[in-house]
């Protein structure tokens, strides 16, 4: 499990308008690029001082590459990051206000507390 890296992906995409669009249009390619080029960059350090050890598990990579937010919830990604980014990705495709958010909730409807642990 690399929940930290899952969260780092969601966080890094969510704060960059160009990456939000890139991830919406090409999820698999964006995940592949990000894992190769960005996953090990420490956000407050020069690129040369990057980490050497961060990778997704196969399940995490596939969930990200398929925009599978139910699976990402189940893998323990941070609920706030997950919701915020996915609103940015898909709210625009729904006519009614909050319709995407309500569908998101319904698709997780089989879950009751305790939810998957989000601790990193």
């Amino acid at each position: 499990m690399s929940k930290y890296l899952l969260d780092k992906f969601l966080y890094s995409i969510d704060r960059d308008p160009e990456l939000v669009e890139r991830y919406r249009d090409d999820p698999r390619g964006t995940v592949q690029w990000w894992e190769a080029e960005r996953a090990n960059v420490i956000l407050n350090c020069p690129q040369a001082e990057r980490s050497t050890w961060l990778t997704f598990t196969a399940a995490e990579r596939e969930a990200l590459a398929t925009h599978d937010y139910v699976r990402l919830f189940e893998l323990g990604s941070h609920n706030f990051l997950l919701l915020t980014l996915f609103i940015a990705l898909f709210e625009r495709d729904y006519d009614e206000p909050l319709a995407f958010q309500r569908e998101f909730a319904a698709r997780l409807g089989h879950w009751t507390a305790p939810y998957p642990d989000i601790s990193t």
């Binding site: 930290y4 780092k8 704060r15 609920n79 990051l81 909050l98 909730a105 601790s119």
Partner: protein, 286 residues
């Protein structure tokens, strides 16, 4: 010594700015009632005539990140830019710019550490909607210097609820010992029951109305003993997966004091969350 002229605790709802500014078909049916309640709440700060605002909130993964996460942090900067791209995108919040009060920041940092809180600090902090929402509701002209205090209610492992209460009590004591003639309002925002990114999000009301009713009673009566007896890091998952923001209310109960009855109490049942507003006027304040 400085005087605490108001203690204010509320929820922070990022949609208020947009709802209040909307008109015609875009204006939600609850907007008028919401605006009326906020304007009454705003008066409770205005009448206290503060010179400086100490503002307690929590960064929502904007500047503070999991590679270096402080539990409690005080901003010590002459200025604060405010709000982020994703808050503009999702909530329509405006970019803002606020003056800081470095002298009070420095005092709270030094004295806070000497009082047993190893506080983190930031000399360049961009504040987010946990602090700009109460500015928009309570002081929209944003003309007073602030001291931002961030708590971690977001990224486990979190400090215990009792530490939030103790920090609140400490902030109150320190502000009242600050050698200054300034009038200080201490403002903090958090949440009642709240679900974000989970199956109970965006329902017709908050995910746990019974928790909300109980919480409003605890806050309004300053019942710290009951709140501390019934709230734990584990129990806060149950009313909704973002309910740890209630610990910022507990911090503010610590600022207000044990069994301190709030002078202004109001609430509003909105879709997906209950909004709640509290003001205390410390007895010595004139």
């Amino acid at each position: 010594m400085a005087q605490v002229v108001a203690v204010i605790a509320s929820t922070h709802h990022p949609f208020y700015y947009k709802a209040a500014a909307s008109s015609g078909d875009d204006r939600p049916p609850f907007a008028d009632e919401w605006v009326a309640k906020i304007e009454a709440f705003r008066q409770t700060l205005t009448r206290a005539r503060p010179d400086v605002l100490v503002m307690v909130g929590s960064d929502h993964f904007h500047q503070l990140w999991l590679d270096n996460m402080p539990q409690f942090l005080i901003g010590k900067a002459p200025f604060y830019d405010a709000n982020f791209y994703n808050e503009e995108r999702e909530f329509g919040l405006p970019r803002m710019f606020v003056h800081g009060h470095e002298e009070l920041s420095a005092y709270l940092l030094r004295e806070g550490m000497d009082a047993g809180f190893d506080l983190a600090f930031s000399n360049e902090l961009r504040i987010d909607h946990s602090i700009t929402c109460p500015l928009i509701t309570l002081r929209p002209q944003a003309d007073l210097p602030i001291v931002p205090i961030y708590t971690n209610i977001f990224a486990p492992p979190l400090p215990q609820p009792k530490r939030f209460v103790e920090l609140g009590k400490t902030i109150r004591r320190l502000v009242e010992s600050w050698p200054s003639d300034q009038r200080v309002a201490i403002i903090g925002t958090g949440h009642l029951s709240l679900e974000l990114g989970g199956p109970r999000q965006f329902g017709p009301h908050g995910p746990d109305p019974e928790f909300d009713r109980q919480a409003v009673e605890w806050i309004a009566t300053g019942d710290l003993a009951s709140a501390l007896a019934q709230v734990s890091l584990d129990s806060l998952w149950l009313p909704g997966n973002a309910t740890h923001g209630f610990m910022d209310f507990m911090l503010m109960m610590g600022v207000a004091g044990e069994n301190a009855k709030a002078d202004h109490v109001d609430s509003l049942d909105l879709f997906h969350t209950m909004e709640a507003y509290f003001t205390w006027y410390p007895k010595a304040a004139a």
